[in-house]
């Protein structure tokens, strides 16, 4: 399963969230084969990942792309971890 973190240009914030997501997944004991990558809004396509992660401002733009995790504060590691936890439990991955 693959996560794609999306931000406006794929240069800054999506990369920061990618780092935080990788750390959170490992802390949550997620399987090793989960992938996390980052991209910009313009290149993101529905076949690029199973679950898309973005900030609230871009949520409307990613609607219909696939499953979404929407963050209120994209630098908040606790929020990210909590939402990843819910998603992983939903998928019976942890």
């Amino acid at each position: 399963m693959k996560f794609l973190v999306v931000c406006g240009h794929g240069l800054g914030s999506s990369f920061m969230v990618e780092m935080n997501a990788k750390q959170a997944l490992s802390e949550l004991g997620a399987p090793d084969d989960l992938e996390v990558e980052h991209s910009d809004l313009g290149s993101a396509a529905s076949d690029m990942a199973d679950i898309f992660i973005c900030g609230r401002d871009l949520a409307d733009n990613l609607e219909g792309m696939g499953e979404l995790i929407v963050l209120d504060n994209i630098l908040d590691k606790d929020e990210l971890k909590e939402k990843l936890n819910v998603k992983l439990e939903e998928k019976n991955l942890i």
Binding site: G8, H9, G12, S13, M16, L41, N73, L75
Partner: protein, 146 residues
Amino acid sequence: MLEHVLTEEMIQIKRQVNGWEEAIQSAARPLVEHAYVTDDYVNAMIENVNELGPYIVIAPEIAIAHARPDDHVKKIGLSLLKLDQSINFAENSHYASLVFVLAAVDEEQHLDMLSELANVLNDSGKVKQLKESAATSEILNIIHKQ
């Protein structure tokens, strides 16, 4: 890498600005003056916010303005404007008092620097200290102290 890019001449403190456009222009000034980016890059950053909304406010009080890497960026740069009075980037409350400007030359080379910056900005204690800083040397110490 961060300490070689975000040097003291790239850091400014201002009491306040009139609007988020001025915040971006002002924050980018050291990068323009030292020929890291051209004025067109500054305009592109402002245009991005107009088009995509205030997504550059990545966390409460923190904005990272940037645009696509292209001819308007001469080398990798990062500047910071610290505002005593935070500025709203949108009608629905996207306040920032730490306005960073990122200049990237491609999609890879600045990532080490950003991961170092993320380590600082993920630390709420350090963010609070940055907001309360009164001197650029103080800001420099907080960011580069490991």
